[in-house]
Symmetry: C2
Subunit: 446 residues, 2 copies
């Protein structure tokens, strides 16, 4: 007799920003969650007639949207937030970051730094992140414990590091991780050849073979600086993009990170291959690496996603800030105020990120059947008034600190800004302990 | 016998960022306030021995710094936050902003919009702002009621507006305001010829005479777009900067706002004149106006301050965000990661703003004898950890929502994020009422 269906979770909202194909924004709608998936999205009036749940939330001042996807970062480097600023990329790496890493990076460092990073990301609206760093097994363990979605791209360099002896060892460790997480719903493993200037052709070939055989995504810092492009031309007689193409790595599974230095041929090669670009505007500006021509790449049909890069060069993991910077900067770079409008910026931070990571069937938009990965933003604050266009406020105001709730795969990770499953004070305490050790590696003053 | 002096207010802090000549950051120091002025800054141990007050605050997790100075904006336009986005400057003005203003702008509109803006500015760390908008008498009344420091630059255009009939009327109204506020400690009145393309030579001359006679600051949108520069060349045979120089307006009292389109001669003229530049990077990016060459102007010896511009093109009044964007963008524009370092960015947002407004003897740094205009930032949040360099966190993280307290002239305007003297819910309610009226002026959908 009773047609009312019982479900896991019901959330009534002021509006739902779906990021579906039509960028539909649905006022006074509700989202229905069952078994970690979106079972229904419908007007709240209808939801109240058709569904019931012991876990029903009335968020009438809130907008729901897909959780943000941070498609490039080095989570554990949050322990080096602001460690060295206002320096060019190679000085910053050679004189500060790499020596500190050599002195301290360990499994414990990575676990603690990753937990700090995940806590910050959840609090600023991210529900899925890509990570490339040493000891990815420690980072993956941390993400798995917390229940956030992530893709770990195991690093590969020619040289040894605290984590391994060289390319063969790195790839063997990658294989162990792939085997460990193959049935995990939230953790995905990919390969991370660090950059053209740190990975030889031989190691690139080994990456390519492993990626092809097992259908893995490949993530690489690419065309980050003019220096990198010039070095490649003198060392290999090719621009890095041409070199990756020649090596057979330029394809739909490739995630090209940074890409500030691009000519028309570069853009055509990437577009033809169906590779994705991960744009990290704040890191590119801060290190004076350059400005990615976003609108030109979008016009060429390339999927462009967003990443914060590590907090050592940002100095945070706030993807709403990155979205805003990307939208603002793209207009000036294109000399066109209509470039990268609010909807495009929102897509770059959500569904485009999912596409880049190969996870778009699962996440990146709020549509029936997809995983329930989403956030609630409180739109009642003074600096959000008045509200003419919800998408404009998401892209151009500063909503990160107004994210009140977060769900991944239907599980609540934050409620009313309180993190569930993370002890914030303990995370802060461990960060401060690492701070002291890092300060000892340099004569740094607070 | 008792050497302990009784004062109005004592605040003990984790550190004080003075922005004095040496950019000194003083750990475990206290600030002593008497009669609206900074009476002393000294180590907390000494402060406890030398001073007492019934109003003593222990902010041991907080950093104190000068309140930020927002050196260009249109406060009342906060009622048009996100009203029209992703449009070029002239379309945005001609098709959206100006028609809406013609339909609705009134004394009530300006009062309510200014109160919304001041509330947002205090909450994000600003203690002094410059404002150019219609009905400045209503805006000044609002600022005076709240107790924030401000400079109102009364607008002058060739054409009539809701506020007046033309240049003579605008300048007569400016004179009335000058007379009204001449003894006010917090409200300063200056002249605001809108832009080279809206003010004739005749009106410019009238502005010049009045400014010279009474020693007033002059504030103008200048070299905002290439279009403006080209129009001036064809209309006047001169670039706008050359025209202002010929008119005798280019001098140490001039505040040149935007300045995205500059050649070496332009920079030399401004530097030689001792005029200030007000840089509004976020508005310049969003309207695709261009990128101000900040480091080049600083190297030429020009005083560069920061402004948010109006919330209709930003879409907020967060000067910490503007500081961060300015620092990041300047590095990429200069192709030099050492350009506009953290200390320089902080100076641009504080003491340089005071210099631009002619108020640097009074405010913009924490030094004995200056007005007690300052803020407290809670540095205990997770996304501020670890803390290697306090100045780096101010410039490169997102501290706006961590500003907990604000004082102007020794008077508390915000305590633990609660505004004193502003009813937030009432401000929001009035903003929402104006929203409905503005929506009726266009066929806009939420």
């Amino acid at each position: 007799m009773n047609d009312i269906k019982t479900v896991d979770t019901i959330i009534h909202a002021q509006a739902i920003v779906t990021v579906n194909q039509a960028n539909a924004i649905l006022p006074l709608h509700s989202i229905i969650i069952c078994a970690g998936k979106i079972r229904d999205i419908l007007p709240t009036d209808d939801a109240q007639k058709q569904y019931q749940s012991s876990n029903t939330l009335d968020l009438s001042q809130h907008v729901l949207m897909p959780g943000l996807i941070n498609a490039h970062g080095h989570a554990a480097m949050s322990l080096m937030r602001g460690f060295a600023d206002d320096l060019p990329l190679m000085d910053w790496l050679n004189e500060h970051i790499w020596p500190a890493e050599a002195a301290l990076v360990s499994s414990e460092f990575v676990y603690d730094g990753t937990e700090l990073a995940i806590a910050e990301m959840i609090r600023s609206g991210t529900t899925c992140f890509s990570d490339m760093y040493f000891f990815p097994e420690a980072a993956a363990q941390c993400a798995d414990k917390i229940g956030i979605r992530a893709q770990f791209t195991t690093p590969v360099f020619d040289f040894p590091s605290n984590w391994g002896t060289g390319p063969d060892d790195y790839l063997a460790k990658a294989q162990a991780l792939i085997d460990q997480y193959k049935d995990n719903e939230l953790i995905d493993i990919a390969l991370g050849p660090h950059a053209p200037y740190t990975v030889s052709d031989e190691a690139m070939n080994a990456v390519k073979t492993m990626a092809e055989t097992q259908g893995l995504a490949v993530h690489i810092h690419l065309h980050e600086t003019t220096f990198e492009v010039e070095t490649s031309k003198s060392d290999y007689g090719k621009r890095p993009i041409e070199r990756l193409q020649a090596l057979g790595l330029m394809n739909g599974n490739l995630q090209c990170v940074h890409m500030t230095t691009l000519n028309d041929d570069d853009i055509r090669i990437v577009a033809d291959a169906g590779a994705s670009i991960i744009h990290c505007p704040e890191s590119n500006l801060k290190l004076a690496s350059g400005m990615m021509p976003v609108q030109k790449c979008l016009d060429a049909g390339i999927n462009v996603a967003l990443g914060t890069d590590g907090a050592a060069s940002n100095n945070g993991l706030n993807l709403f800030s990155e979205m805003r910077t990307a939208a603002l900067l793209a207009k000036a770079v294109a000399n066109d105020a209509t470039a990268v409008d609010a909807n495009t910026a929102i897509r770059m931070a959500t569904i485009n990120g999912a596409k880049a990571l190969g996870l778009d069937k699962l996440t990146g938009s709020l549509e029936i059947g997809k995983a329930a990965d989403f956030i609630a933003i409180d739109f009642s604050a003074l600096d959000m008034q008045p509200i003419y266009h919800i998408n404009s406020h998401i892209a151009y105001t500063h909503p990160a600190d107004k994210v009140t709730h977060s769900w991944v795969n239907g599980k609540s990770l934050m409620s009313n800004r309180k993190l569930l499953g993370i002890n914030e004070q303990d995370v802060i305490k461990r960060a401060q302990q690492w701070q002291k050790k890092l300060q000892q590696t340099q004569e740094q003053t607070v």
